[in-house]
Symmetry: C2
Subunit: 457 residues, 2 copies
Amino acid sequence: MSKIPYRFYLDEKDMPETWYNVRADMKVKCAPLINPATMKPVEKKDLTSVFCDELVDQELDETNRYIEIPEQVREFYKIYRPSPLIRAYNLERALGTPAKIYYKFEGNNTSGSHKLNSAAAQAYYAKKEGMTSLTTETGAGQWGTALAMACAYFGIDLTVYMVKSSFEQKPYRKAVMNTFGADIIPSPSDTTEVGRAILKNHPGTSGSLGCAISEAVEKAVSTKNCRYVLGSVLNQVLLHQSVIGLESKMAMEKLDEYPDIVIGCAGGGSNLGGLMSAFMQDRLLGKTHPYFIAVEPASCPSLTRGKFAYDFCDTGHITPLAKMYTLGSDFIPSPNHAGGLRYHGMSPVLSQLYHDGYIDKAVAVKQTDVFKAATFFAKYETILPAPESSHAIYAAIEEAKKCKESGEAKTILFGLTGTGYFDMAAYISYQEGTMNDYIPTDEDLQRSFDMLPKVDA
Amino acid sequence: MSKIPYRFYLDEKDMPETWYNVRADMKVKCAPLINPATMKPVEKKDLTSVFCDELVDQELDETNRYIEIPEQVREFYKIYRPSPLIRAYNLERALGTPAKIYYKFEGNNTSGSHKLNSAAAQAYYAKKEGMTSLTTETGAGQWGTALAMACAYFGIDLTVYMVKSSFEQKPYRKAVMNTFGADIIPSPSDTTEVGRAILKNHPGTSGSLGCAISEAVEKAVSTKNCRYVLGSVLNQVLLHQSVIGLESKMAMEKLDEYPDIVIGCAGGGSNLGGLMSAFMQDRLLGKTHPYFIAVEPASCPSLTRGKFAYDFCDTGHITPLAKMYTLGSDFIPSPNHAGGLRYHGMSPVLSQLYHDGYIDKAVAVKQTDVFKAATFFAKYETILPAPESSHAIYAAIEEAKKCKESGEAKTILFGLTGTGYFDMAAYISYQEGTMNDYIPTDEDLQRSFDMLPKVDA
């Protein structure tokens, strides 16, 4: 076999024609979503005022293993996919490790992240079902940018509730979304009832994803031909993101490789869920499989320090309840925390898999350690990584160092979810030594846990 | 033949092994560089205190058609090359044109532009020749970022003189260069004699590339084991950038295509020179060839309104004289002008080819028209283009519209040199309607022409 190239691209014709629905292969299914009004499992009709019909079907589908990617979505994917699988030769050399390090790079599109994979799908279904506008929330801005691009392409209006701390730190993110025609509102705002209530109870708050979700949902249900879309956490999003893992697995097969370790950063879970999906299938079906590692910020440690419990998905408590690892829907991470990964909960699918031992390890990393890894990586691999992605870089470097000690030539695959072009304020604070390593205290978390809803399920 | 993919990547093994030196095929060679001290053509020894030896050889080489790309540079190229050749299906549909539009996208690397192609080569030769540091200038910041990346990779220090207007508008560009370990100094500065003189004579100046070049050269010649490197204009830079055109031509051949029109933005000429090189060879050798269009900003119109004359390459008049299209080395474009393409002169190679009719057309475009084209392009192609690149987009759209009128299905190839992530302040001024369309008056230019040096050559 010839030497493996630095960047390996699948042919366009090899792009997956179906998404993979990992729930179909899970022995223990996720606990159902609960309707907070009835405290009973949600049915399709409970969700269709908020989400597009086909997306509700996908959300509730636990049986269909493969779901067709619509042709129009595939056409959109072709603009930036298949994404490259990169062999980190230079990083390996710099570390002096016998490990073989690969990363699936999802930053090669203007949104700068993997979020575009689900944005394209959700905008397409909305257009197909006759919607004229969408609402969403965005934290770091990657999801909002991705959805703005997809909405511009499919011809549909978009209002984005952007977490206020991010809105203020990232005026250029707003400008990119404006370039693609989206309206951006800092959250909490006075454009919704829930926003006004939060502003009243928490004056001066820097906002949170949970709060922005509440506003976007309220706006969607109160606007004609409008639906709400979400960029992470949901089952449908993990489904769309499965394209990452499917491509990764196929590319590695063509290179005669298979990962010993799969590493992904985890905020709401969309990236890790997507990256690991095709490999997790191997595990669920009893085949040889990798060791799975989830990496989260120490400032928002839902897997490592959260409760596996029913909780609201938003701060305003207008969404269904999901059983997931959660820090409590009142938990608002430090505004100092750079980048995304600020959500209080974790995808129910990932949560269940972690709870049942299918995800082997979760680690929480301080942000100065994350930026140290990011800067090291940039120097050798020449890609400026997003802070979110750099959590996975940190863990991959740690695993590669262990290989150096043990002499094992393990094959490591991690997800490089995006680029850091809009995170330079955070890089500057790291370079200037002013970056905080905020970690919530046990008391902080207990206060938030005490507010968890009581559910008999 | 199967349908042409959206993104076509050559295999890594197809990457060119040599650069193409277009001067070898030019019937009329460029006029020689003149040493301002002796007013005689420069010899190698006049340049080796400023530039690395092998780069001086390349600068003066008019006979070797192909020059080997060193293996270490090819290894670096493999990190981000071959770059994709993209079929603009969505733009074609949006315009309703029968034209087939292709673009060679050089923005898929962290520097965000094609500049990395020459940065890698220049940093490599400096390291090879035992240099411990380099100096350079940067305008919009793309070149400085590219060189910072290359210097980090090859392990060599870098000082960047950044045009003051850009330094102030783009703090995040500075932060990216800092991430790769470079020192950044706003120019004009008090760190050099020439900088102090310019500050004295033009207090409050926003700087210019010509001025930053003077400072970087002075710093290089006054520092041990230090050389100066330049990101455009020079023959050696066009040589390195020939990789763009070589890859483009090879990719189009594999797709059974050949361009009727080749379009590139032109500031110092590195992009257009590189993109057109392999196709220009066809023309110089009397074969079928494309129609060549150079696109420049109306605010800095060296080809369309400049003089073809000997001029200094810098404001401080410490560099050799080159015969080129120039607005005069005292010309300082409006600080309002967004992005790069602010250099007073044009590559001597491009200038000679344009003078002799081998480049068919040069057009100058107002920046609001450029941003209108950029925004339209982003919506359909989902790539946020750099303002520089958007000059070529504008011209490509104009040509595609002509095809719609005439019904001709011409094949258009343009260079998408980079991404606009660090140009959001300019996008905002366009969106808010505050962008100026500054165009120099004839009197402005005449004042600058009156200062051109008198050379009997």
